[in-house]
């Protein structure tokens, strides 16, 4: 092993990488622009859509008979509902108007209704179209208003009989007390915990993919590997130089990804959304530990990608292997991100590379981690990264791999 050789090979690979637009896209554009856009666009668009729809009044039509005067007055005086009266209209005609989109919901008095001001029940039928969000929203508003109206009538009836309101309200929650010590910080941590592991894992594969492909399959395809093998460089130095370059590029991509996602979720998202407040409260030690964790994970992915790359006959074959690797990382990433925020896992799962990174990452962000989980994870990653590096070295020493074409 020769440090000068390792440095020369690392420098050559970095120079080639920095002059390759594909790598720059994966290393810089993807984490700094594409991923944050993906994360921010969804919630912001949803909120905008929600706000716009909240501003449009729901058209609710009363049909079949006269509505009780006080109920009609209440509906007519409420923002967010356009109250339409057409007692002469049949239910079939109302359905047709609903289907045409002229109204959002229709209300009719049920045949069984026996309502009077001081007794009986006003039984109503609501006609709506569940396939239209405007119609379901109208029904929700109608239900909420009817609830208010119902409570008022109940109170009036009880008062008329000299009875207290508590007679029909045996239970009532008067306050909610949230004991989360730092709700904004907890929410920020939870939100990041559901996103960062998956995106970080993706970055660990995609970030340095083209550098890895170039370092093995690319060299084979350009016929430069043979010349390099004839230079007075030990295979160990050769592999370490290439590995160091892939690690550098991938780690830079992952670090950019983590930083840009954190800034997007914690600082940009609340400012783009109306009144959300988020914060991230992790210690400097936790942050450094997470970077060490990702450093080891990137070492593992870099060594695996280098082995795959030199094994591949061509750049295209190498790309096919990398695609499989991406999916192999995405599956546990999706499981942990979307399925297991509050789950507890058996101790052995922390010995499984990839899965352990995602779990420990998530636990640290939600302040639920344990030292034992960290130790098992770091040892497992270090051992598997060393094994993967050994595999890469083995591949570079095997002539039937190097000359596999």
């Amino acid at each position: 092993m020769n440090r000068e050789h390792i440095r020369a090979i690392w420098r050559k690979e970095m120079l080639e990488t920095l002059r390759d637009k594909r790598t720059l896209y994966m290393m810089v554009l993807l984490p700094l622009v594409i991923m944050p856009l993906l994360v921010l666009a969804g919630p912001v668009m949803m909120e905008r859509q929600f706000r716009q729809s909240a501003e449009i009044p729901a058209k609710v039509l009363w049909i079949g008979s006269e509505a009780p005067a006080d109920l009609a007055a209440m509906f007519a005086g409420v923002d967010g509902i356009e109250w339409l009266l057409d007692p002469g209209l049949t239910e079939a005609e109302a359905r047709e108007r609903l289907a045409n989109g002229d109204i959002d919901a229709a209300i009719a008095l049920a045949d069984s209704s026996s309502y009077a001001m001081d007794e009986g029940t006003l039984e109503l039928e609501v006609i709506f179209d569940a396939s239209r969000s405007g119609s379901t929203r109208a029904v929700s508003r109608v239900e909420a208003l009817l609830q208010v109206w119902s409570e008022r009538i109940t109170a009036e009836r009880l008062a008329a009989r000299g009875l207290p309101g508590s007679l029909v309200e045996p239970v009532r929650i008067v306050a909610f007390h949230d004991i989360t010590p730092d709700p904004d910080g907890f929410l920020g941590g939870m939100l990041l915990a559901s996103l960062l592991p998956l995106f970080g894992a993706l970055g660990a594969v995609a970030g340095g993919m083209y550098t890895a492909l170039d370092a093995g399959a690319g060299e084979k395809e350009r016929n430069s590997l043979e010349s390099l093998m004839m230079a007075p460089v030990s295979r160990t130095s050769l592999v370490l130089g290439k590995f160091a370059a892939i690690w550098t590029v991938t780690f830079a991509a992952v670090a950019l990804m983590i930083l840009s996602m954190t800034v997007s979720v914690i600082y940009l998202l609340p400012r783009l959304m109306s009144d959300a407040e988020l914060a991230l409260r992790i210690t400097l030690f936790d942050a450094l530990a997470l970077f060490v964790l990702m450093g080891l994970f990137v070492a593992l992915s870099s060594a695996v990608q280098l082995s795959m790359s030199v094994y591949a006959r061509s750049f295209r074959e190498g790309q096919a292997y990398m695609t499989v690797l991406t999916f192999a990382v995405m599956l546990p990433g999706m499981y942990v991100s979307f399925g297991g925020l509050e789950s507890s896992y058996a101790l052995w799962t922390y010995a499984v590379p990839v899965l352990n990174v995602l779990l420990v990452f998530q636990e640290t962000l939600t302040a639920t981690g344990s030292a034992l989980h960290w130790i098992i994870t770091l040892v497992s990653l270090a051992v598997s990264a060393a094994a993967a590096l050994g595999l890469a070295l083995y591949c570079f020493k095997k002539e039937n791999v190097v000359f596999r074409a």
Binding site: A8, K12, R19, R222, E226, S227, M230, P232
Partner: protein, 247 residues
């Protein structure tokens, strides 16, 4: 300088090189001539340590190709069939990279790079990326890379393949110059005219075996032919093929 005895290479059950003996001394150019698939490139790869011989022994500049591969590699300059340059690096960067791998650095390396680029007429394009170069220019950079560290042995695999007349002439001139400098040169080719022009000795290889070797006159006599090309056809393809070509 290059001594090989009983060199053999198997890939699975297929024996590609079957006990080759070769000697190349300092200041000597030996042409390894054979048709496609005869085992030329495999032999050169064994001598340049990228393939391990299955049997036999070879030393280069006194170093064993199996036991001391890194020392062998410091003593050889190799030109593979394809120049294998890094297209996104400039001519100077390509040479600088290989210079560092050969233990050169600083002003000594920069001086040597400038000297070689001047010698090969590439000084004007020193800082241009090699993926913009013509095939002949790429071959010149690869030749410069070959002698960058001033090795005593050169191994050239079909150095003129695919080059135009002018570029081929440049390569032949390079080989002659390297011989004058006292280097031992082994090069493979299937162009007989250029072998006749530049080689002190030839070894004709067919089906993984040396069929004839020695000076051009000796090989011609052995094949009962008047030119190296006739001798090559008679030895590599058989008497009947030679007769067919004559008709």
């Amino acid at each position: 300088m290059i001594h090989a005895t009983g060199l053999e290479k198997r890939f699975g059950t297929k024996v590609v090189v079957k006990g080759i003996d070769l000697r190349v001394e300092p200041g000597e150019v030996v042409g390894l001539l054979g048709p496609n698939g005869a085992g030329k490139t495999t032999t050169l790869r064994m001598l340049s340590t990228t393939l391990l011989p299955t049997a036999g022994k070879a030393t280069i500049a006194g170093y064993d190709v199996v036991r001391e591969p890194e020392k062998v590699r410091t003593s050889i300059g190799v030109l593979p069939t394809d120049p294998g340059l890094y297209g996104r690096l400039t001519a100077a960067e390509n040479l600088r990279f290989y210079g560092k791998l050969n233990g050169m650095h600083g002003s000594q390396l920069e001086k040597r790079i400038d000297e070689l680029l001047e010698q090969f007429g590439l000084k004007e394009v020193k800082n241009e990326r090699t993926d913009t170069f013509s095939k002949g220019m790429k071959q010149k950079v690869a030749l410069a890379r070959c002698i960058l560290h001033d090795p005593p042995v050169l191994i050239l695999d079909e150095p003129t393949a695919g080059l135009d007349v002018l570029a081929s002439r440049g390569v032949i001139h390079f080989i002659s110059e390297a011989r004058r400098q006292g280097r031992a040169i082994l090069f493979s080719s299937h162009y007989m005219l250029e072998a006749e022009r530049v080689c002190d000795k030839v070894a004709i290889i067919g089906d993984g075996r040396i069929l004839a070797s020695g000076s051009i006159d000796k090989v011609c006599r052995q094949a009962n032919a008047s030119t190296l090309e006739d001798a090559f056809i008679a030895l590599a393809y058989g008497e009947s093929a030679a007769a067919g070509v004559a008709q």
